[in-house]
Amino acid sequence: MRWWQIEKRNADLERELESDLAQEEEEQRENGMSAEEARYAAKRVFGNTALIREQTHEAWGWAMFERFWQDVRYAARQLRRSPGFSAVAVATLALGIGATTAIFTLVYDVMLRPLPFAQADRLVTIEEKIAEWSNIYPTLPVSANHFTFWQQHNRSFDSIAVMRQDSAPLGASGHPLQVGVLAATPGIFSVLQVEPNLGRAFNASEGQEGQDRVVVLMYDLWREQFGSDPGIEGKSIRLDGFPYTVVGVMPQSFHMPSLQTMATIGNTNRPLPVGVLEPLAFSKDVLAEDMGDLNYFGLGRLRAGVSVAAAKAELDALQHTISDHLAADEKATLSTALTPFQEQLVGNNRKPLMILLVAVAGLLLVGCVNVANLLLARAVGQKHQMAVASALGARRAALVRMALRETAVLAVAGGGLGVLLAAGVVPAMQQYLPASLDFRGPLHLDWAGAGCALLLALLATLLAGAAPAFMVSSTAPNEVLHTESRLASESRGSRRARRVLVGIEVAISVALVLMSGLLTTSLMKLMAVDRGFTTERTLTAMIDLPTESYPDTQHRSAFYRDVLGRMERLPGVEHAAITSVLPLTGDSWGDMARAAGDTRPVTQLPLESFRWVSPEYFATIHLQLLSGRFFSESDWGRNVALISEKTAKTLWPGKDPIGQQFSRGDPKEEKPFTVVGVVADARTISLAKPDPMMVYVPYWYRCQFVAGLVVRTHQDPSAMANAIRQTIWSVDRSVPVPAMRTLGGVVADSVANQRFEMDLLLLFAVSALFLAGLGIYGVITYSVVQRYREIGLRIALGAQRASVYRLVLRDGLLPVVAGAAAGVALAFGMARLVSSLLFQVSPYDPALAAGAVCVLLAVGITGCLLPARRAASVEPMRALRTE
């Protein structure tokens, strides 16, 4: 029988009983009874029709269900009678469960969800370590030479590959698309254990120079740009200006994390997703360099049963061999760093996520405590009702059921709402995923997390809900009934329990408020720090030149000179410049400057961060000149350089750096640079710390195919975006110009993660505060109601209103003060966890701690004041007369 047939069934039974009753009545009348007598006689024969109905229902087999429905209806009725309580309880649970589930989903996705590769636990990233530079670069990318050596000699890996990710224009004429390109040695396919869906993987010969003009397309690019052409294999496409032959298309399920987000050097905060795979081929020259460029991201698949430590030991031994054969002027102590791939991807996102998880668990706990507290307060009120039921013969099980039905409805409603909330919030959290991990498609609500949060909340509610039943069943009902309820105040134990609960709420809230205070202050300081450059009215863009038409620095610099010249003439443009790396988007070129006369081996030279820039760069971002001059177009072709103050002090301590010379690489092959000026130290790599030694060389000396464009305008920069784009295209229509961003936006984006963490923590803290306030209010209001007569008596005996206020406030603030102290201790205990995330703020900051306590006290006083006023306005006569 289906439940929806209940109503129909019931009507049917009703009709049956009625017709049979009428028949009986008729028969009685035929026996000579009067109409009225007959009706009563018939009813006597039938007996209790309600009972018949009930018993028949049992025969239908859904008595259980019916009883359940009855309970739900009863509970709903009870809850409707106190809408405030119900709303608060449901909202609290929904908030706690929703937030916890959402955060747990995020954490699970980032830290625990296995990467979408076969036996992903055997994938490790490989980095090099060079002891001499470890204070600046703890780890470095891999060099082609070393990789080849490892590949030939290692026994720990099934396969290894190195790769590099950059971007290139796709398509030839008119506004080409900028796509992410992953250049990888052919071993990548066996490392990741994937095969193209269509066509084939790269073969070993395509890993050699001259045969590397083949690509494998990613599924999305194939679908969007080539209309899912099934015959794409063998066709030629134009990438970076060159013709490439498509040899395969990857399966839809294959996603590749963006390497730019993980590289030790080089970090753009908005990487392009990989659209194309091409073979990475090394020239003979590159391979011959023992200490060539450390450029590549290394990834390996461990042989089954080989541990990370064993593999590292083997690679380190190989590195040792390489070290031994290095030329004297390149002496370096080499080793490696191996990290499980997933760990590397999570990187330094681990800690903030853990903090968020702890914070949200705290919020959930506060929520549960709050609901338990509210329920306990209600429970005392229901004691009387329970005692009556118990006196009338209800057994313990029935009492528990009676007590639980309300809380169960609350818990289910709150939980359901919470899961809905989480489901709504989770997709919006996608944008906050660390860029390195945001490659696996949309986030989905994690049901395990939802289940855990739900379970916890249910447990809390049900335990608190069952309390009154146990309280009653453990005492004789007549005892409860005999004590006059108004006079009887709450039992000492339950009062203490509720105070402890308030204390816990307050403690967690204080800790949360303090933590979010720390992060907020930290972020404010980070944004206010003197970064050494300004961002007003400044637009930025990344320009990507096709290598085919711009094969070298000479061609590229000519192009930029033309573009910049035209741009300077644009009305509204104050300055326009290009730079190798936009401020706060990472670092890309580390190199050693050898001051003239310095003969140390290369690894002992100081390591600087190099930028190639156009002369206007400094004026555009207002980077201050300390001495000397900027270079200008009139220096064209000459090796001149600007250095930062820190570089000047390191290379030429105590001397005037202007006019000094240095060289990078071999001074015999290349003309040395002459220092023409010194600029101030700024924060262009990270807001959190001053830049390392900087060296700025002109773009005619070196300029690569990707450049950052910076334009300072006189008016609103957004109006200029199109004019700037048109200017670039007026020089060459085959150059893709992606979206323009303001420099202010770039700066803000560099702290987007911190802002997200702060926002969430703030939200949690405010929620926890609100809940704590509610908890205090509830407890005090309840105790005032309980002590109504006592207070009336006090006033009748001459107590001043002020002393009544004092009485209530003291009662209410005691757990708040105790909780606040515990909360500060809790926050200090967790200081180690947060301190590394803080900028110029001590986790033990006394002002912030005091502030957090004050906030809680204010909330506590607000929560107490209303009930205190109520207590002080008790009319003694009425209070004593009631009941």
Binding site: D12, L13, E16, S19, E26, G47, Q55, T56, A59
Partner: protein
Amino acid sequence: MTKQQQQRANLLQGTLDMLVLRTLLYGPAHGHQIGKHIQRTTNDFLQMQHGSLYPALHRLERRGWVSSKWETAPDRNREFKYYRLTEKGKKQLVAEESQWKQMAEAVARVMWPAAEES
């Protein structure tokens, strides 16, 4: 309800099902008729409790031993819910009848051993 009462109710319940099925062997009848018939046939020895009759009827229907249909009584201008024995019900009746017979015989053998021997 005590344990003792419960046992008696169970015993009666089983018997009642059989009696209802047997009554319906004469043809379709509504609840009131069935009750009246059992009462009359046993000379009012079995007082029909409506509280057990209707649950019994609905239970039998759920098990598929009887089917029901609203029909107008031939002599009265009113609709009644008529119960009718199904094929399955007939088989059940036979089974219950033989079970009852065995039971009665077994009880009789214990109660009146002499009578059995003679």
